[in-house]
């Protein structure tokens, strides 16, 4: 909403200075976006200095000037004036400027092979004088310190631009703003002067509002003005329209706009001679078409509120008029419409047809239904004053009565909500200043809400009005109490924060990427999940919700590789989506690692990242989060986007149904399709939703501390097993032989090749044996040794390597 201070003062008698009014507007909740001169075409002309002038290489009479226009860059301008010399102060017009003399719009152009950015202007081109021989010469005494500044003074009045919240349609008119300011003590609201207008004859075009279902129009008031001479608006009106940066069109259009901006009362003027017999306000029929004032043809659905005559649709009520009945300079007789349209209906129609007009914006927020007559009065009076013509009686068709809403308000509610007290008579004054009728009844106030305030519907709205006008600075600051009834984080949230920092501590950079992704990349990772399309994506490559955490991670891995980084460790913790149902999402950590370990390191040999790097990070993270590694179980099943032979899944317990994590090398085909060029890409995922509570809590008492001082012995074994045999199984077999004696098992070598049969491998392990009761003697050791060999051989089909 834009207005000038002088326009405001048509409604507000005030001694406040501009800046006080600006502050007051902010204080009452009318947010000031800006208060400045509207830019004028003349702002394009700048004071400039020629800092160098050289002969044009291809033209004797032209020179190429380096011009300082007060910006960092010096511009080059080709100039034909004989006085274009080094050191001259003159007037510069940049590309896009319009030269006042001939309305020519400047562009960047090549003049005989040299590019010229803009132009240096003569006095005649600027319409300052007839002098056209050379470019304008400015006196250094006056202009030397003004290089880069506007040459022409901007004479426009400063414009206030307010951002009006959708609940305040009344402030879409200057009067509404003046009313708020007056209530807040910034002056007095002037009353609207009622000149008696002479009405002559009846409005003889029949108007009817049909009783259609969901009729969007409830009041249609109109009058005829016959014998008008439409013309250019008078100076005062043009200036008003121009002051808001709008273009005057014709007196009749300007007057309807003026009344709308002044009182927030939209009007529509028809050329009465173009109306076919009568006005029917009705619902549209499917397939009806009409050409609107934006010169577009609209095809209507059924149930839209249209103003029509016997020939068809004239306009969409409250949204946009039609060309068929539009007023022109030749228009002689006009029908002036002042109506009330139901916001819901306006919104529905404009959404369906995708039309956004000033009238729509206003009606959708709620126009004062009781202002129809005032609007007709003010506009018809202005039209007859400016364009002449005879005004008919007003015809008012209504299918609904609008009564002012009544609210019972107990002033104690104010203190209850705001925490401070305002005296009752002050509350009453504020409410009255806002146009609310107040009558006192015992401890309550009976309030009658003015029809221009559709936002006020219950006592809490009255509290808001009073506290807003009184000022939010009156609310006292109550220090918060420092007591806590409930834990800040629940278990799952604690786990989230812990895992996040645990993964990061292993050298990964945390990233946050969109929850949506490119369906093409998502397809690599979505497995059997359904694609979740966004109906209106921000761009075609962010068109689905991510089914996996890896789609964006791999995308950004590639981006960083392309930036020249080689060894990258990234992770994200966030949602992935199973379906479009609310809540059907998982919280997942995805981590990805590329390149080499110890690249270009002087004391360590480099190697590509491999799955045991990420397996270590994964297992360590789970251990740090309190899960018992001893009960972890690894399977070689994993989603298809991993390398089928170099990936696995982690179960917290052998008997668990769902794995809590996957790890492995990214499938080489995907790496290739994504055009990721690096030595290796490995990664892991942790599914937080599947992580059960840890069995042992930090707060629990620890187990008794037990240790053995008896001598421990170590034995090495090498078993030859099938190539696909799992080390995990071997360890499990050995450790379950005697949990008391076998303290640890370490695999120290895996060997295939010479001396080992095809399809077999040798697993070498070291077993630590220790008793907590005695030092084991040689025959005890020999016994367990034999047991280990025989058990392994019988259970796994392995052969001890001799």
């Amino acid at each position: 909403m834009k207005f000038t201070m002088s326009w405001l003062k048509d409604h507000l008698e005030t001694k406040h200075k501009d800046n006080q009014i600006i502050d007051k507007l902010t204080d009452v909740g009318l947010e000031v976006e800006s208060f400045e001169n509207i830019s004028s075409e003349l702002d394009d002309f700048k004071v400039a200095k020629i800092i160098n002038a050289e002969q044009h290489p291809n033209a004797d009479r032209l020179s190429v000037c380096d011009v300082d226009i007060g910006q960092q860059k010096i511009v080059k301008v080709v100039c034909g004036a004989p006085n274009a010399k080094k050191g001259l102060l003159t007037v510069y017009a940049g590309p896009g400027s319009v030269i006042p003399k001939n309305n020519m719009k400047l562009t960047v152009s090549k003049i005989r092979g040299v590019t010229s950015y803009g132009m240096l202007c003569s006095e005649s081109e600027l319409k300052l004088s007839d002098e056209s021989e050379g470019i304008t010469e400015l006196k250094p005494s006056k202009y030397l310190d003004k290089i880069g500044k506007n040459f022409f003074k901007n004479n426009t009045e400063k414009v206030v631009d307010l951002s009006i919240t959708p609940n305040r349609p009344d402030c879409l008119g200057v009067r509404g703003i003046a009313r708020d300011l007056a209530a807040a003590g910034a002056g007095k609201l002037k009353s609207i002067s009622h000149k008696n207008i002479k009405k002559d004859g009846s409005q003889n075009i029949k108007v009817s509002i049909t009783k259609d279902k969901n009729q969007g129009c409830t009041i249609f008031a109109s009058c005829l003005i016959k014998g008008v001479t439409n013309k250019e608006s008078p100076k005062w009106l043009k200036e008003k329209i121009e002051s808001l940066g709008q273009k005057p069109i014709s007196a009749i259009v300007d007057i309807t706009n003026y009344v709308m901006l002044d009182l927030n009362r939209p009007l529509h003027a028809y050329d009465a001679d173009k109306i076919d017999k009568e006005i029917i306000v009705r619902n549209s029929k499917k397939g009806e078409t009409f050409e609107a004032l934006d010169n577009k043809e609209y095809k209507l659905d059924d149930g839209m509120c249209v103003i029509s005559d016997q020939s068809g649709v004239l306009g969409l009520g409250g949204v946009i008029g039609g060309t068929r009945s539009g007023t022109e300079l030749e228009t002689k007789n006009i029908l002036l419409e002042s109506a009330y349209f139901i916001p819901r209906s306006i919104r529905k129609t404009s959404k369906l047809l995708n039309i956004d007009t000033d009238a729509k914006f206003r009606f959708e927020r709620g126009i004062d239904p009781q202002s129809v007559e005032l609007g007709l009065q003010k506009a018809s009076q202005l039209i007859s004053e400016i364009c002449g013509g005879k005004i008919s009686n007003f015809d008012i068709q209504k299918i609904k009565q609008y009564k002012n809403l009544e609210i019972k308000f107990s002033t104690s509610l104010f203190e209850k909500i705001t925490g401070f007290k305002v005296k009752e008579n002050e509350i009453i004054k504020i409410l009255k200043d806002l146009g609310i009728e107040v009558s006192k009844k015992k401890s309550e106030l009976n309030l009658k809400v003015p029809s221009w305030r559709p936002d006020i519907s219950q006592p809490i709205d009255i509290v808001e009005e009073v506290v807003r006008i009184k000022g939010y600075e009156n609310i006292e600051t109550i220090e918060p109490k420092k007591n806590r009834i409930k834990d800040t984080l629940n278990k799952q949230q604690k786990l989230f924060h812990f895992l996040q920092r645990s993964v990061a501590s292993k050298g990964y950079f945390e990233t946050v990427t969109w929850s949506f992704t490119d369906s093409k990349i998502n397809n690599f990772f979505k497995e059997n999940l359904k694609e979740i399309r966004i109906i209106n994506p921000i761009s075609s490559d962010l068109d689905v919700l991510r089914n996996s955490i890896f789609s964006n991670l791999t995308f950004y891995l590639k981006k960083n590789l392309d930036r020249g980084f080689k060894d990258i460790s990234l992770f994200e913790i966030g949602p992935t989506f199973k379906s479009k149902q609310p809540g059907e999402q998982l919280t997942v950590i995805g981590a990805i690692k590329s390149g080499k370990i110890s690249r270009l390191n002087w004391n360590e040999k480099d190697r590509s990242v491999d799955i045991f790097d990420v397996k270590k990070d994964l297992i360590q993270t789970l251990m740090e989060a309190g899960y018992d590694k001893q009960s972890f179980f690894i399977r070689d099943k994993s989603p298809s986007y991993y390398h089928p032979g170099k990936s696995g899944s982690v179960y917290l317990d052998k008997d668990d149904i769902d794995p809590v994590a996957y790890f492995g090398e990214l499938h080489p085909n995907i790496v290739k399709k994504l055009d990721i060029k690096t030595e290796g890409v490995v990664g892991f995922e942790i599914y937080l939703d599947y992580l059960k509570d840890t069995k042992i809590k930090l707060k629990d008492q620890k187990l008794n501390f037990e240790y053995s001082d008896y001598q421990k012995s170590e034995r090495d074994y090498a078993f030859v097993v099938d190539k696909n045999y799992k080390a995990q199984d071997l360890i499990e077999i050995i450790s379950s032989i005697d949990k008391n004696l076998i303290r640890s098992i370490k695999i120290f070598d895996i060997y295939e090749g010479e001396n080992i049969p095809d399809g077999k491998k040798s697993i070498a392990l070291n077993v630590t044996i220790q008793s907590s009761e005695k030092t084991l003697e040689e025959n005890d050791l020999e016994k367990i040794n034999k047991l280990i060999i025989s058990t392994v051989e019988s259970k796994s089909g392995a052969k001890i390597r001799s």
Binding site: R344, R347, R365, I460, E464, R468, A504, L545, I568
Partner: protein, 355 residues
């Protein structure tokens, strides 16, 4: 006797010289070998008369001990010397780089969320979360923003179905609705999380983060709201004083509503929070609308309170001097390294928000 004393003096002298292990061992043989001088002297013991024998034996023993001790210490001395000279040759260039360091980083958004949670934890708020995908009822209707209300235009919404019933939440406020529907007052929660609007330019990103706050009890008024936010902003920016301004505004789900500005000044192109005469809008808040309370089965005649919503990314930008919002989500390794936090820097009440 004089013979053995002579031997003693002679060899003690010899051992005082600069010798290597080999020469000391040579001396050892000369003295204590099979035909060594001391060994031989012991052999003479038998031929001595009884009265002399005892004394000679005693003298001889003490000389033997003295010499042995001298030899041992000499050997030790040489050993230490040899080690020292060997170490001398083992000198490394300790300025060579250490083994590879892989320092991880926490994203600024996560760090700021932890800071926020830590601050609100101290004044008794707990953290709630809700789904990113919402239905329009929780995101709008229950929050007093009915369909066909222009306030819906304030949010550019991503939809997941053509009926516009399922959407990506445009704010964290639906968590208010879910929390209140699932519990009984009082409520004192914050809800940080991802939010989405189909808007993308220098200062808008299609995804961003908000933290919702909600405090409902029997007597929570606008003064509590002011106090809570004042406390939060001061704690967050780690300053003692903050200039704050509450401006009336409008949100469908609060009444009265306010926007909060904080004072700042520009120093060397950076925003300095606290003083200065410029205002920066940082959050929206208000008293929860009675209609919202009714929608979640809380009696507005008995319970009242406030809610607020703060842009997390923006807070982070202000506190840590980050200029470009979009860079938050672009995963530039250099950016993550520059603006990220060490994982061990966990914001907490007792050790402070930041180092």
């Amino acid at each position: 006797m004089s013979d053995i004393k002579k031997i003693k003096d002679e060899y003690l002298n010899k051992l005082d010289n600069d010798l290597d292990t080999e020469s000391v061992n040579q001396i050892k043989t000369e003295l204590f070998g099979k035909n060594g001088q001391i060994s031989n002297s012991f052999k003479t013991l038998g031929s001595l008369p009884n009265d002399e024998r005892k004394k000679f034996a005693s003298d001889l023993n003490s000389i033997k001990e003295e010499l042995q001790e001298k030899i041992n210490s000499k050997l030790q001395e040489i050993e230490i010397k040899e080690i020292n000279s060997k170490l001398e040759n083992e000198k490394l260039d300790v300025t060579l780089p250490e083994r590879e360091i892989k320092q991880g980083k926490i994203h600024p958004v996560s760090q700021v969320i932890d800071e926020i949670s830590s601050i609100f934890s101290e004044i008794g708020f707990s953290v709630e979360e809700g789904p990113d995908v919402e239905n329009e009822h929780y995101n709008f209707t229950a929050l007093n923003t009915p369909d066909n209300h222009p306030a819906r235009d304030m949010h550019d919404t991503f939809y997941l179905d053509n009926n516009k019933e399922i959407l990506l939440r445009t704010h964290t406020s639906p968590v208010q609705v879910r929390t209140m529907l699932n519990g009984k007052p009082p409520f004192k929660i914050i809800a940080p999380g991802r939010t989405y609007r189909s808007d993308s330019d220098q200062t808008h990103s299609p995804m961003f983060h908000q933290v919702e706050g909600l405090h409902i009890d029997k007597d929570i008024n606008m003064g509590h709201l002011k106090g809570c936010l004042n406390y939060f902003i001061k704690s967050f920016f780690e300053v003692d004083k903050i200039k704050m301004r509450f401006r009336p505004s409008h949100f469908p789900f609060t009444e009265p509503s306010a926007e909060v500005d904080i004072g700042y000044e520009l120093k060397d192109g950076k925003i300095v929070i606290g003083e200065g005469d410029k205002w920066l809008e940082i959050l929206g808040c208000g008293m929860v609308h009675p209609n919202v309370l009714k929608n979640v089965n809380v009696n507005p005649d008995k319970y009242q309170g406030y809610a607020f919503g703060i842009g997390i990314d923006r807070l982070g930008m202000l506190k840590y001097g980050i200029n470009d919002l979009r860079a938050f989500f672009e995963t530039d390794y250099r950016w993550l390294n520059h603006f990220g936090f060490d994982p061990l820097d966990v914001p907490s009440n007792y050790r402070g928000l930041s180092r």
